[in-house]
């Protein structure tokens, strides 16, 4: 298949509130191919969840287009639109809210199988068992008659993934899908999602605020870093983690507490000017990061909005200084 599978083309999402207009997502473009793994990371308020929901077709962009297999999704109608809806599935963050508490696992998995695969009775049961095995819930027959409250958080997330798989999706967007799950089992859930990408050719997008999770999940893929509604850096994960190009990413990675005393106590920090994140109602002019940025240059960064440009090595960054110097911010700030 030529061309990207799913694409966000200069999408923005604005909300009008009594206090003013909020641009939750501003001019974001993202292009994803088949079987790709990508993470969208950022702190709260950066717009990553909104971007994920627009990608999943659950939220309509205020401007820009969502393209699936080259066609504009919001222009689709009827059967075409239904086909897109099934092709892109969202896995939610909260394992306690993602399953209907009054339905057993079998009753949750049966309706999509009945409607879309025309599977009933024994055929449905076989399909369910196979799905539960695929997501690592064994022995599968034991789980069919259980209610969600009888399962652990991690098990519920697996059921959510199984439910998403009933319609053979092409894209799965996992919105903080491991954040509310015990630390010791996050890796296995991430591995499951990763396998879906590599073995079953499902493009997987993980939205998270946890860079360690993003690093592990996206280790063979890309990461997009967002700040106040914009993508500030887009790179393959290893490059981002070892040599971040944007000053914000650099500060973020330098600030992360690590599960390793020697590293974390000796890590070189990147101090930012000002601890407060500006309100979305009152965005700074020019580059939204400039008030806190150690590389900020008056006259440039507070006037002109930077666009994502390419650096050598196949990465993109939205930073005037980094692009001009053709060097990642990490090197410019001396923390590499």
């Amino acid at each position: 298949m030529s061309g990207p599978l799913i694409e966000l083309d200069s999408v923005s999402r604005t909300y009008t509130t009594p206090a003013g207009t909020i641009k939750a997502v501003d001019d974001v473009s993202l292009s994803l191919g088949e079987s790709e793994t990508i993470c969208i990371v950022g702190e709260s308020g950066c717009g990553k969840t909104t971007t994920g929901r627009m990608l999943a077709g659950l939220l309509r962009p205020s401007s820009g287009r969502l393209l699936f297999e080259g066609a504009d999704v919001w222009e689709k109608k009827g059967k075409d639109l239904a086909r897109f809806r099934r092709a892109v599935q969202l896995v939610h963050q909260d394992p306690y809210a993602s399953l209907n508490p009054t339905r057993t696992i079998a009753q949750t998995l049966a309706p999509p199988l009945a409607k879309h695969k025309k599977a009933h009775g024994r055929a449905a049961r076989a399909a369910m068992i196979s799905l539960l095995e695929r997501v690592g819930l064994t022995p599968p027959a034991d789980f069919l008659l259980k209610y969600p409250h009888q399962l652990s958080g991690g098990q519920r997330q697996r059921v959510s993934i199984a439910r998403a798989l009933t319609v053979d999706p092409r894209v799965i967007v996992a919105d903080e899908a491991v954040s509310m799950v015990d630390v010791s089992i996050r890796i296995s859930l991430l591995d499951l999602l990763h396998n879906l990408a590599t073995e079953f050719h499902v493009t997987t997008v993980l939205i998270t605020h946890d860079l360690a999770v993003a690093r592990y999940f996206g280790r063979k893929g890309r990461v997009a870093v967002m700040y106040l509604g914009r993508v500030v850096e887009l790179a393959d994960t290893e490059s981002l983690v070892s040599d971040p190009a944007h000053p914000y990413s650099t500060a973020l990675i330098a600030a992360i507490p690590e599960a390793d005393p020697t590293i974390t106590r000796t890590k070189k920090r990147v101090p930012l000017k000002g601890a407060e994140v500006p309100s979305l109602l009152n965005l700074p002019p020019g580059c939204v990061f400039h008030p806190r940025c150690p590389l900020s240059e008056p006259g440039l960064c507070d006037v002109v909005v930077p666009i994502l440009g390419n650096l050598p090595g196949g990465r993109s960054v939205a930073c005037h200084v980094a692009l001009r110097e053709r060097q990642p911010a990490a090197e410019l700030l001396g923390v590499r």
Partner: protein, 301 residues
């Protein structure tokens, strides 16, 4: 996968558990909360009394002038009425109409409330505004007075008609509740997932949202029954409904109008139906409180 896992349990798990298992489950949960269980027994008792007992006990219809307001005795455990008829007999035969009307009224009002409440919440916009406006107007009208006026104008001649009238007075409260519930359920993750999976509006309303409202619906149904019974007692006591003379409410009318208050021996002619109504209402309310546990899957087994 071991051999054991493949050979055990070949039931079709997509069907709900069978009726016998469900009843046992239900009884077991109810027995945990004494109030609910007593309520259940009470309701079952009165239902039996109203619907089965009439087949076991012959109707004593004969006017017996000699036994007017007779004292309670072995033959007449609660005495007799103003025409010498046995009070207990009347209580046995007096429940059916009242309870049937109450059930029908509750059923109609619940159906109206669920249908329009779900539609209002799901479709939103102008339809929602319209339904809400009608509901709010209906809510502000004093129920009892409206009931009296309607009963006086339309003079319902059958219990069915009475049930319809009563239903029309009760749907507003439940509709608002259902609408609020649906509005909040609409935003839940599992409903969003059902939409993504393209499962259809009917599925979403009836299989995703409604099961989460079961407790509201059933408990409201029961409360609606109690309200319908009170309403019937009120309008029949006031003599507004020219219906048969053999139900508990009509007994109150006759008791009052035939001066049962003034004779010491006719005490039970007045108190009998009052106690029957009151105890049935109490049983319903206790049953409703016990049912809350049943609807919470977390509290089962």
């Amino acid at each position: 996968m071991t051999a054991a896992a493949t050979t055990v349990d070949r039931r079709d798990v997509t069907r709900l558990p069978g009726p016998v298992a469900s009843i046992f489950e239900f009884l077991r949960t109810m027995s945990r909360k004494p109030v609910g269980f007593i309520g259940l027994i009470g309701v079952v008792f009165f239902l039996f009394l109203a619907y089965v007992a009439p087949f076991l006990v012959p109707l004593q219809d004969q006017v017996d002038v000699a036994s007017i307001y007779a004292k309670p005795s072995f033959l007449h455990p609660l005495g007799t009425d103003f025409q010498g008829r046995d009070v207990v007999n009347q209580i046995v035969y007096g429940g059916g109409d009242i309870i049937t009307t109450a059930i029908l009224a509750a059923l109609f009002s619940t159906l109206i409330a669920i249908t329009f409440g779900s539609i209002a919440a799901t479709l939103g916009g102008r339809i929602d505004a319209l339904i809400l406006a009608i509901t709010d107007v209906a809510l502000t009208i004093p129920q009892l007075i409206l009931l009296i006026v309607i009963a006086a104008i339309f003079r319902p001649t059958s219990f069915f008609a009475l049930a319809v009238i009563l239903a029309l007075l009760q749907w507003p409260a439940l509709l608002r509740q259902i609408r609020a519930q649906v509005l909040s359920l609409k935003e839940r993750d599992f409903v969003e997932a059902a939409r993504s999976l393209d499962l259809g509006l009917m599925h979403i309303i009836f299989r995703e949202m409604l099961p989460n409202m079961r407790s509201y619906i059933v408990i409201h149904f029961i409360i609606a029954m109690t309200l319908a019974i009170y309403a019937q007692a009120a309008i029949m006591f006031l003599g507004l409904v020219p219906l048969s003379g053999r139900n508990w409410a009509i007994m109150l009318y006759f008791a009052y109008n035939q001066g049962a208050l003034f004779f010491k021996d006719s005490f039970f002619y007045l108190m009998g139906p009052i106690m029957a109504i009151a105890l049935f209402q109490l049983s319903l309310v206790w049953l409703a409180s016990g049912l809350e546990d049943v609807f919470n899957p977390r509290l089962r087994s």
